[in-house]
Amino acid sequence: MQANLQLEGVCVDFPIYSLAARSLKKTLLHRSVGGAIARDVGNRLCVRALDNVHLKFEQGDRVGLIGHNGAGKTTLLRVLAGVYEPTAGQIWRTGRTASLLNISLGIDPEATGYENIMVRGLFLGLTPAQIRERRAEIEAFTELGDYLAMPVHTYSAGMRLRLAFAVCTCDEPDILLMDEWFGTGDAAFVDKIRRRLEDFVERAGILVLASHNLSLLRRVCRTGVLIEQGRVVANGPIDEVLDRYDSSSG
């Protein structure tokens, strides 16, 4: 299937419901991180997490999302994943999407690695038969060996990362969305992740990767999208965008 992702004028507002919101307002109005605060029609206090975002990704695009904490990277990934329907604007998406925003999704610490492979695979839209078919490959990729028969609570964070990543990418999705969580992988595995991502991009899918690991972004991505306070402030070749990010933060 032809992978395609397009956003037109996408805005995402988070209403703040908690009672503390009123007093929060004063402190939030003058700060450097996070989205813009506004009021919506019902005069509710809102955080505008994404503001009028126009983006277009096509097959073979490998996009790095860059921005400070709270700039809207994760929100944008969730919009791309179809989780958040934008408050305003449109999104069009074709192609099977796998999102790896949080590695602990559907992980039951008491269950064995094998059981968790099954559950996570189900969430990705695979049938039990398809998961069994891919099990050998997943086993090989994780290099966890006999640990897969043990409960996941015995795993280290890095081992869980291996498990989650192997399952998520076993299915050759058309669109892969990833939030940064490479921190826990050891150098060898991060390298393996990089190679797998490169393979994936060779097959001409769309990769959107949010990370603060600038060297990883430089190696894997071709395009960069810089977000500040929910707005896309730069969109172009990764090196240019990263240079701009460096100069703005430095």
Binding site: Q6, R78, A81, Y84, E85, L101, N102, G106
Partner: protein, 268 residues
């Protein structure tokens, strides 16, 4: 490349429900996983459900039977089935309130039809019901109860209960995701409902002028599943009440779900 115009919110809500219900391969195993998760590393596993229900029904049956000076052969099966199905109904309702809140991690990450979580919940409750119903077998044998063909009326009764559980899940799940007090309110209503609904007492213990339970929806929901297994056909009033609530519930739910489905991911 041109894109189709986006579907209306109502169409999306309906397709969410249809797609979610069809995803049996997803909510089937997940419902079982919920059971396994709870009873992991226990030897009897989910049969603890059966055992604890058996002990409860046995103890209460003897106590209340003596209190009400009830004829045990009539009271015990009534109490057992009442308790088993009440557990099913009340679990459905209180789980409904938390169906989206508990699925937060999934909802915020994967673009799944939200109704999958509701199907998973209903399925999980059905599995628990299956385990609990085992208790009725020895009781039916001990008191020589054979429902006969009337017993088959349990099928439409259960289907109706599940349909109602499904709309309750969508509606209460949605409202609770936004207003976190709702689950607490609902829980206290359920606790009161348990005592005012004929479960641990039989309707004919009351003088006829106190027939308030005719206005109690929970009574009718219980009747359409309890009566068939006792070998009695549920009354027409019960069927109509349950059918009416099903229709009203689904209409209201579809309206609310169309309007607010897209907000759920923001609320959880």
């Amino acid at each position: 490349m041109s894109f189709p115009a986006p579907a209306s919110q109502a169409a999306r809500a309906v397709s969410d429900i249809v797609e979610g219900t069809r995803a049996v391969h997803l909510w089937g195993p997940l419902g079982w996983q919920d059971i396994r998760k709870r009873y992991r590393r226990s030897i009897l596993g989910p049969f603890w459900l059966t055992i604890s229900m058996g002990m409860l029904v046995g103890a209460l049956g003897l106590l209340y039977g003596a209190l009400f000076k009830a004829e045990l052969a009539r009271f015990m099966p009534f109490l057992a089935l009442g308790f088993i199905f009440w557990t099913f109904i009340s679990n459905l309702i209180s789980d409904s309130c938390r169906v989206f809140i508990n699925a937060q991690g999934i909802i915020e990450q994967i673009d799944l039809p939200l109704s999958v979580h509701v199907c998973r919940m209903v399925w999980h409750s059905l599995i628990v019901l299956g385990h609990n119903l085992i208790i009725f077998v020895p009781i039916a044998i001990a008191f020589l109860i054979w429902p006969g063909w009337t017993g088959l009326l349990i099928v439409p009764g259960l289907v109706l209960l599940c349909l109602n559980g499904a709309w309750a899940g969508l509606l209460l799940g949605l409202v609770s995701a936004r207003f976190r007090d709702v689950p607490l309110v609902v829980d206290s209503v359920i606790r009161i409902a348990f005592f005012v609904t004929p479960i641990i007492w039989m309707p004919d213990y009351l003088p006829s002028r106190f027939r308030l339970h005719d206005w109690n929806p929970f009574y009718h929901f219980l009747e359409v599943v309890r009566a068939p297994l006792l070998g009695e056909a549920p009354s027409l009033v019960s069927w109509l009440a349950v059918l009416g609530i099903s229709c009203l519930g689904w209409v209201g739910t579809l309206l609310m779900y169309s309007r607010f489905r897209r907000r759920i991911a923001y609320w959880v």
